[in-house]
Symmetry: C2
Subunit: 226 residues, 2 copies
């Protein structure tokens, strides 16, 4: 009986998860993340509330939620816009990654997390072999998400989720994100090796170089289009 109850507690989070505003937020978040709503685009209260069949008030509640996740930008009396991150934003995102991922690789990896990391690396390589660069991108994101989970902190996991969602905005402004992800496949594999073999110092150093390189490349490809 006890384990039945314990199992149920996992579904519990899904139970509370219903309110029209939150469901609307979920929909909009997906739309933004898939690039249907482009960065910089204005989201009209009238057309969207009408399109989704919810009242303006409810839609505004959803807007507030996404604004706090930095996916939307609220400009007073002018409406909400899909966030268009500045170069400074990109730099800061990578600064946060340096902290979160850096702390992660210094920790003793758990079996559970290590499995997730390995899967993500393999999935990315498999997708690359099939020229499915969309899948490479998502697997790459899973890799870093799994890395950060080494910190064993729900709040940090959540922060990383938001950070990666924000980073997707940047990718949507780039001309070809596929070219950006490719060079990092080998590095992911190498980083995994350093973690597995228990050399946190080297892993941290390697990661720093990794992130420096990625940031420079990303900003270089991003700057012109602003």
């Amino acid at each position: 009986m006890d384990n039945v109850v314990a199992d149920l507690s996992q579904d519990r989070s899904r139970l509370g998860r219903s309110s029209t505003a939150e469901r609307v937020a979920d929909i909009l978040r997906d739309r933004i993340s898939e690039g249907f709503f482009r960065p910089g685009q204005r989201l009209s209260e009238e057309s969207i509330s009408e399109g989704l069949g919810v009242s303006r008030n409810t839609l505004r509640e959803a807007f507030r939620l996404l604004g706090h996740e930095r996916l939307l930008e609220h400009r007073l009396n002018r409406g909400v816009f899909v966030r268009l991150p500045s170069v400074a934003d990109v730099s800061d995102l990578y600064q946060v990654r340096r902290v979160l991922e850096g702390a992660a690789v210094r920790r003793e990896p758990t079996e559970r997390a290590l499995t997730l990391i390995k899967e993500a690396v393999s999935d990315a390589e498999r997708a690359a072999a099939q020229d499915d660069w969309q899948a490479v991108g998502t697997a790459n994101i899973r890799f870093h998400q799994a890395l950060v989970s080494l910190n064993a902190s729900p709040r940090i996991d959540e922060a990383m989720r938001q950070l990666l969602a924000e980073l997707r905005l940047v990718f949507h402004v780039m001309e070809n994100p596929r070219a950006f992800h490719e060079p990092f496949l080998d590095r992911n594999r190498a980083l995994l090796g350093l973690i597995e073999s228990g050399r946190p110092g080297e892993a941290a150093a390697y990661l720093d170089d990794y992130l420096d390189h990625a940031e420079r490349l990303l900003i270089q490809a991003y700057e012109p289009s602003r």
Copy 2:
């Protein structure tokens, strides 16, 4: 002319910062942080909207904002409550602190940040000498906020602000928070010394011990009252 425009752009942030919902959120945040609204307490939409002279819709927008900051808890069809952190929450908060503050002390300190840290330490000691434990608490918070600012990341600064606000909820449930802060005055001073003298490794180790100790003490004082 150019520098005039550049100067103005700094004031720009103040321009956008007004909407009734956000101002209401500011008020509620202050009330919660000062303990006027106690953890666990329910905030009635009707009485508060009436008391503040705003509509229920606007108040609900404010509630959403604070919910995302984890200061309020939204239970469907039951209303919003001032968050009452669990012991697991406290542990996680300290886990996050280990990551954010740990990364901070490993960095080369800037002059600006170092000044802020020194001021916070001195202020805390001065307040302690005058038995003003309220002031000791806020100075202590400023100390850790300044520490984290070594990471040179606006997003991390913001995350730390929220984290400390959440931690204040915990303090409001304790019987005497003053006794909790006192033993850490000397440690703050010692940590500052390690940072100033450029020994990041030792500083990080000292900090880990610091946080472990603080977490244990806090949970010990917190557990019974739940």
